[in-house]
């Protein structure tokens, strides 16, 4: 507690960012330190779990220190510790969980374990100070593609998800084979802006009527087959066209289903979350389709779309207010369900 405000320390280490933040009253970011490992993993073409775990350990305590000093508070001012306990890479998660439990124990501060995906949704509470549930949420990140009904701060009802690859995984894979490299999402997005969306007819996978689920593995295979046959035929591949056409096939299905879900559940807002929420074309398309139905679309700024500690602090704050507490036996759960 400082100046009458409730302070939460949020810790996030589920993948390749070591991130810690101090948030006041669940809404105001006092500090948001993100130590990214992207440059380390780029040389391996993707996140290497063992290396991520090693770097998290070396980084975490310095990042905690910086988050406190950037917020101009000391650990004694902190009222709550929130930490991502899943889903994610187990070796990466456990660094955050071990550190959070040690802080809670050493300083007698309450502890709340947070679902990383709930954190992504909560990022919107930091961006839009008057946003309150209910709303429909679209959570799209490297490992997840979900449509989630949010009736309440602490309720997340998943109504659709991917049956195979997440959208981000499909982006990464295709980015790799067309030589754009890692991380695939932002690179495909950039290349697509220079390409023709209708150059190649990649299929849209709608699944059975009424389904809010996704499937991207067939599309990924189609893209790989296309590239192989073009190469074999000796034709030059237009990377920008492939990126634009592939991206269009992914985001058209996502946008369409998210808007249909909001309309069907009577929600007036779609709240976007996760790394892929900053994809330019997805934002454009979903805004168009939603506007036609009188539905608003909200999203966090790019820095809050990536993994960060502030979103974990916000989610922890609302869980704590609803009476949730984690014990010292909190464990990392790599395959934590929505």
């Amino acid at each position: 507690m400082k100046n009458g405000r409730h302070l939460t320390l949020g810790i996030e280490t589920s993948c390749d960012e070591t991130a810690v933040s101090v948030v006041a009253d669940g809404r105001d970011i006092l500090s948001n330190v993100i130590s990214t490992q992207i440059s380390i993993h780029t040389q391996f073409g993707g996140v290497v779990p063992e290396i991520a775990s090693r770097r998290h350990l070396e980084n975490i305590n310095g990042v905690i220190d910086k988050a406190l000093s950037d917020a101009d508070v000391c650990i004694g001012d902190i009222d709550l510790v929130g930490v991502t306990y899943g889903p994610g890479l187990v070796g990466a998660l456990l660094i955050g969980v071990a550190a959070a439990k040690s802080i809670a124990y050493a300083c007698d501060i309450p502890l709340v374990g947070v679902n990383h995906m709930h954190g992504h949704i909560a990022a919107n509470y930091l961006e839009h100070h008057d946003l309150e549930p209910p709303f429909m949420s679209l959570v799209v990140s490297g490992g997840h593609t979900n449509i989630v009904n949010v009736p309440d701060y602490n309720k997340c009802e998943k109504i659709g998800g991917t049956r195979d690859d997440a959208a981000g995984e499909a982006f990464d894979k295709v980015a790799r084979v067309i030589g754009l490299g890692y991380p695939g999402g932002p690179k495909v997005d950039k290349a697509a802006r220079e390409g023709n969306r209708e150059a190649i007819d990649f299929k849209r996978v709608w699944l059975e009527p009424g389904s809010y689920d996704f499937s991207f593995s067939g599309l990924k295979t189609q893209a790989l087959n296309y590239l192989n046959s073009e190469r074999q035929a000796g034709r030059e591949i237009n990377v920008n066209d492939v990126a634009a056409s592939f991206q269009e096939a992914v985001v058209e299905v996502i946008a369409e289903k998210a808007v249909r879900a909001a309309a069907e559940y009577g929600q007036k807002r779609i709240v976007m979350a996760g790394g892929v929420a900053s994809n330019t074309r997805l934002r454009e398309l979903i805004s168009e389709k939603a506007a036609a139905q009188g539905i608003d679309v909200l999203r966090p700024s790019p820095v809050l779309c990536t993994d960060n500690g502030a979103m974990i602090a916000s989610a922890a704050y609302y869980a704590y207010k609803a009476g949730e507490r984690s014990g010292y036996d909190l464990d990392a759960v790599p395959a934590l369900e929505f």
Partner: protein
């Protein structure tokens, strides 16, 4: 005043211990295999309470920094670093192998062993190991160990070749300990048999064979007394091995696909 909390999470069962200035040790252990993260704070608190102190009375926090399970090492070291940071007390790094040697010392001396050899199974005939010599004063009261072969990765066959050569040359019995016995017990016995020195070989009983925080605490106390401590940010794991990806990058054997993506 000295009150050290010592953590040992590099093996199968995690444990925590508090050692006081007079050398008295209070231990608590995990009852479930590989449950380190879940249990670490609970067993630490049990050890603190058993010692009749409060966590605010702790003066140092020590961790067995490896070698051993990479995941286990990280849980102990991260916890020790963060407790050190938050309680404002120094950290102490202890070698898991040295602590294992410390644990069996009196049994080894009683059995007339010259060498104490802790061996951690690192799979596919790899081990993390080292050899210490048991040293004691003529009255037999003061026992300690001095390093005889460096702590590092050994192929079990190489370790055994070097040890049996030493025994052939200098005599003396060898006291093995650690889960390397579970994995390579037959190979160890065969190597001594082959040179006709099976009688020089002793294998630690299961009751004292594995890592435990009590021995980490004893070594930590000696280090604290001679001022061999670290600030929390300097306490780092001793993996003794690069990650596979880093090793491939160094050897130039990363797959072509990845090279292309770069």
């Amino acid at each position: 005043m000295i009150n050290i909390l010592a953590l040992e999470t590099t093996g199968k069962y995690g444990s925590a211990a508090v050692i006081k200035e007079d050398g008295s040790v209070y231990c608590a252990s995990s009852e479930t295999e590989m449950n380190h993260l879940k249990d670490i704070i609970t067993i630490s608190d049990e050890a603190v309470k058993a010692a009749g102190i409060s966590k605010k009375d702790l003066t140092h926090v020590a961790a067995s920094a490896g070698p051993g399970s990479f995941t286990g090492i990280r849980i102990g070291v991260t916890t020790a670093r963060t407790l050190g940071q938050m309680l404002g007390i120094p950290c102490i790094a202890v070698s898991s192998l040295e602590a294992m040697a410390q644990r069996v010392l009196s049994e080894a001396i009683a059995a007339g062993a010259l060498y104490v050899v802790p061996v951690i199974n690192a799979r596919r005939h790899q081990t993390y190991a080292g050899a210490w010599q048991a040293v004691f004063t003529s009255d037999g009261e003061h026992q300690s160990i001095v390093s005889e072969m460096p702590e590092k990765q050994y192929m079990i066959e190489d370790l055994l070749a070097e040890l049996t050569d030493r025994v052939m040359e200098n005599g003396g019995r060898v006291f093995f300990t650690g889960d390397g016995i579970d994995a390579y017990g037959d190979i160890i016995e065969d190597a001594f048999d082959a040179k006709g020195i099976r009688g020089q070989l002793i294998l630690a009983d299961e009751g004292i064979r594995y890592q435990d925080a009590g021995s980490v605490a004893k070594i930590a106390l000696a280090k604290a007394e001679r001022g061999d401590t670290l600030t929390y940010d300097r306490l780092l794991p001793e993996y003794m091995r690069l990650s596979e990806a880093e090793q491939r990058l160094r050897d130039g054997t990363l797959s072509d696909k990845i090279k292309k993506a770069r």
